[in-house]
Every structure is written in C-alpha cells, then in structure tokens.
Symmetry: none
DNA sequence: CTTGACACCGAACATCAGTTCGGTCTATAA
DNA sequence: TTATAGACCGAACTGATGTTCGGTGTCAAG
C-alpha cells in the first residue's frame, strides 16, 4: 500500500467522500461520487476508487453498496476512524483506544469461533480496550479478541490467559502471524505463515522450535494476529 | 421524540447497528440487520427501524441503501448500551487509559534501567498507552515500560519487541512475575518469584522449562511485571 | 365476542448500485 | 511511425436493497 500522488480527480473524490460521510453518516455511492466530481460514467469512478484503494487511501468491499471505508492517513489522523467522524470526536492518536469484542476462546483442540459477519458480535458485551498504537497503521475493522485457554500456544509465545487481538481474514501474506485451522489434525494453532508452493510452512514464533508443513488446502486461515495482551496477577 | 420504551428487538437492532458501523464504516442493510436479530422478514426490520426513528434513536433516508444514521444520545442513554459508548473510540480523559513512560530496553545482558539512568520519568517523551484493565486494580504509581531486546526472555514467554509494563519495587511476593538482576551472572531476567528459605526459586513462565535457584542475597528485584504488550507486524 | 392497535410474517416488486466490457483519447517509449 | 499504458467513456448486465401489501397472531378495551 503505497501512498503515492493522487490525480486531481482522485483528490476531489477523496475530499468528497470524507465530506459526504461526515454529513450523512454513510459513504456515497459510485454514482453520487461521479456526479460530484464530474465523471460521466460510473466506470470512471470505479476505476479511480480502485486506484485510491491501491494507494492505500480507502478500502473497498466488493458487491456491497456504499462499501467504502476511509483508511487513516497518518498516526495523527485518527479522525477517519469509523464512528469518530460522525460524532465529531477527534482524539489524538496518542490518546485513543479501541474497544474490541471478546468473542470467545482459542484453544488447540477447537476451531476459532467464526462469527458470521452479522449476528454474532453484537450481543457480546465483553469488550477489550486496545490502544490504537498496538494495532499499528491497520484499519480498525473486523477486529475481534480471543482469550487463550490452555498451554497449547506456548510455541507461539502465547500463554494461558493471554488475549489475542485478531483481524478476521481468510488469506495471509508470508510472515503474517495467523490463527489457522488444520482440518486434518482438527486443531487450531497460531503460527507464522509462509506459502511454499503447494505447501504451507507454519513457523512457531519461538525460534527454538521447528516448523510444520501442511498442504495448502488443509490450512484454513481464520484471522491475522495483530497483538497479544498479557496481564499478570 | 421519546427516548424510551424500546422493545428487546429494537434494543438488539440498535446495538447491532452501532457495532456494525464501528466495524465496517458504513451502516448495515435491512437484511443484515434482520439476519442479526433473527427477524424473518425485511418488513419487520423496516417496521422497527421506523419505530427507532420515531423514538429519536436513528434517522432514515428513504430509498437510500444503508440510509441509516445514528443520532447522538445523551451520556446516560449511551451508557445503557454496554460497550457501545462512543462507538469504540474513547478519549483518554476517561480514566480507562494510562500513559506509561518507555524508559529503555530490557535484555538479558544488561541491568534494568533505573530512573537515575534516564532522568526523571516525565522527561521521556515516549509514552505507552496502556488500558487500565491490563493493570488490574493497581495504583498507577511507579510504572514504567521497557522494550524487550533479543530472544533471551523466551522462557518467560516474552518475545523480541514486546513491551513489558513494570512497577518499580524491590521486594516481591511469592508468585509475582518480576524483573530481577542476578549479580553473580550479570544478567537480567523475567521470572516468577518464590522465596524458599535462603534461596529464591525463579520459575519460567513457560511450564515446560526448569526453574533456577539463586541465593536470596544475589537476587535483586527491579520491578514487578504487570503486563506484556505485543504488537505483530 | 368484536374491534383495533401492535408486532410480525412472506412474497413480490421496483429500483438502486456495483461490475463488466468494448471502445476512444492522449502521452510516452520504441 | 507504431505500440503500449493510463485515464476515460457509454451502455448493458446482475445482484443488492428498500418498499409495499395482504395476511396472521396477540392482547387489551369496548
């Protein structure tokens, strides 16, 4: 995600999107954007939205109407985080935290709770405060937290009782720490992910421990680990 | 515009909408709401959205997909929706966040920096945001943070780059996780502390590893570990 | 018992809105 | 010159999404 220069039209679009969300509380449609910036075709807007996504300014959700979200542009620009803009809250990056729903537990013997996109999170009332700095430049969507049960994650340097913050995703980049379900073993584990041809190398975070190799079709990424919180005593 | 008398379903819907916006950056569709709250028909959702609008909780925009807007609620009202306050973004003026000075690094080969080494805490401009829930009911005095360098804390389940939050103290209770300076070895380590007669048993957090025993006079407690923060990627 | 308000259901319906594709224009490189 | 890539255009296509409407069940008032 490179933050490259924007064309005049792309800048206009970005400003319009930001204003629109502030005013309405929901993002504009492609046609609304097109009308605002004087694009004569929806495909032009679609095209430039993809460019904005390429350059890391926005994120798109395919086949979802108004499926746009602004990504934070700098550590100082937390005002683009969801929710803040509409309520006029402008926290400085150094002083804001996010509340992430604690949706269950993670253990070697059980799959990660896979909350359906709707119909799950909303009734959890257990929220974990997470400082934004722990989430890096990530956008703050699709985050959830799990409490570690048992000592089975020790080779990931994760202890019983730790809370892991994950982002729900089904694909991983090499080097990502991910929660994966291994259907052959009936096992959930936290490992670093490396695609190597037909196989996936799953590398424990503990450098003294050995990786395992699993056929790619039997590795189901459940989410990427963004942070681990441990409270002692 | 009354602000009361929400049915169970309407409450659920409201909570869901807030969460959804927080996570996605745009409001849900009628069907997404329906699925979440178990309404079998879109018309039911439509109906209850109108009720929520009547009661002043939301605003609707006709014939616009995801045309929902949450209306600001009074503090009292917001607090009746556990965890939804401020849509996840909490200013630090709330007492839920503490700023702890990052005073240096911790490595096996070096003593823990003392305040004398780094000047007075408040001169440091590197402050770590720590949610209070990670610190328990502790008093917030004499806290400091260290960044872990090297893999030497692996047996404490602490990885390179982790940030440990400590409280400055020179005595420890049995079972406390502490940072100790072992003068015989010229080494700093993180272990669980157990006084056993003339000796101290220092137990690694990793249950598969063996404790070490050190004469009490050669164990110098530097501080007690309250929390560990790990950010990945 | 009848009535009416209320909440809900199911199924259509119309249109809103993202996607795709063939094509044009322009600047730059070969 | 020709070739290529980026930006743009217009139209069609398909799925997503808000709306409407006839109907059911419940409950309390009359």
């Amino acid at each position: 995600m490179k933050r490259k220069e924007l064309s005049a039209r792309q800048k206009k679009m970005l400003v319009f999107i930001r204003r629109f969300i502030e005013r309405h509380g929901y993002p504009p449609t492609i046609r609304e954007i097109g009308k605002a910036v004087g694009a004569s075709s929806t495909s032009v807007v679609n095209y430039n939205l993809d460019r904005l996504a390429d350059k890391g300014y926005i994120e798109r959700v395919p086949e979802v109407s108004r499926g746009l979200r602004l990504l934070p542009q700098s550590e100082a620009d937390v005002s683009t985080f969801p929710g803040t803009q509409r309520l006029g809250i402008v926290p400085s990056s150094a002083t804001s935290l996010l509340q992430v729903p604690l949706v269950g537990t993670i253990a070697a013997s059980a799959p990660v709770p896979t909350p359906d996109d709707v119909g799950y999170y909303y009734d959890t009332d257990d929220l974990i405060d997470v400082p934004l700095h722990l989430l890096g430049a990530e956008d703050a969507y699709d985050l959830f937290a799990l409490r570690v049960v048992g000592d089975s994650m020790i080779d990931a340097m994760v202890a019983e009782g730790d809370i892991v913050i994950l982002r729900r995703q089904t694909v991983a980049q090499n080097g990502d720490m991910v929660a994966v379900w291994l259907d052959e073993r009936g096992e959930t584990t936290l490992k670093k992910y490396y695609q190597e041809g037909e196989k996936v190398r799953l590398q424990p975070a503990n450098p003294t421990m050995q990786p395992i190799y699993v056929p790619a079709e039997h590795v189901h990424v459940q989410g990427r680990v963004l942070a681990v919180l441990r409270r002692l005593q």
